[in-house]
Amino acid sequence: MSLHGYLTLGALVFAIGLFGVVTRRNAVGMLLGIELMLNAVNINLVAFSRFHADLGGIVFSLFTIAITVAEVALGLAIVIVIFRVRKTIEADRLDLLRG
């Protein structure tokens, strides 16, 4: 399989994740979309690393994975706080700053 195959796969997953982030109303649903996008990025990084015989890509995707876990933990903590305060996690209803 050529590098292009993996990159196209990554791009497709990225697009699907983007679609999820844009269209979901639920905050958790949006987070899931972000997860997909980050995954797509990882596929790209690892594919480049493999086809250039450079470990940098793998190191980077390791960092990405670690950061993603932190991001998810933090994001969900925020979601839980929002739920406590507003009793909903629908993004459209979180309009406290709208004035």
Partner: protein, 163 residues
């Protein structure tokens, strides 16, 4: 058709189908389960790319960790028992247009670039990774540690019981 090619198409199909299910399915819990499938499929893609170590990390942190946390959040924020948790989507057409545009742009770049020659020599990945993490990327690793601590503190601060 080598084993790798067959495997790639299979995994790609699973990955794309489950990703689509993540963003399209109505039930939030099902979406998380599909995400787990997608993450495992991504791990298998890593295997195909000869990075078994990353496969392990992916399973351990993503499928074992992230999915668990998300499920926990869902259980905390939704009234579950006796009720179906549904989530609707908005601006589906616009979203599809945007993501399709992004995809086309990326693939456009890809088409212009030439494919690099596949490399044949394979260094010992595990040892190389270890050396890389404490060698050229040592500072990054430390920064990552700081970031994780900060994130942990932040999560605890946000999610603490308000007393």
């Amino acid at each position: 058709m080598t084993v790798e090619t067959v495997g790639f198409w299979l995994v790609a199909a699973v990955l794309l189908a489950s990703s689509l299910a993540v963003v399209l399915t109505k039930n939030l819990f099902h979406a998380v389960l599909y995400l787990a499938v997608a993450l495992v499929a991504t791990g298998v893609v890593f295997l195909l790319l000869e990075s078994p170590f990353l496969f392990g990390v992916q399973l351990l942190l993503y499928a074992g960790g992230v999915v668990t946390i998300v499920v926990f959040a869902i259980m905390l924020t939704e009234r579950l028992v006796g009720e179906r948790i549904t989530q609707t989507s908005r601006h589906v057409v616009n979203g599809a247009i945007v993501s399709a545009a992004v995809f086309v742009a990326v693939v456009g770049f890809l088409l212009q670039a030439g494919a690099p020659a596949p490399v044949t020599e394979r260094p010992d990945q595990l040892a190389g990774l270890g050396r890389a993490l404490v060698g050229p990327y040592a500072v990054t690793l430390e920064l990552l540690g700081v970031l994780l601590v900060a994130a942990l503190l932040g999560a605890i601060y946000f999610a603490r019981a308000d007393d």
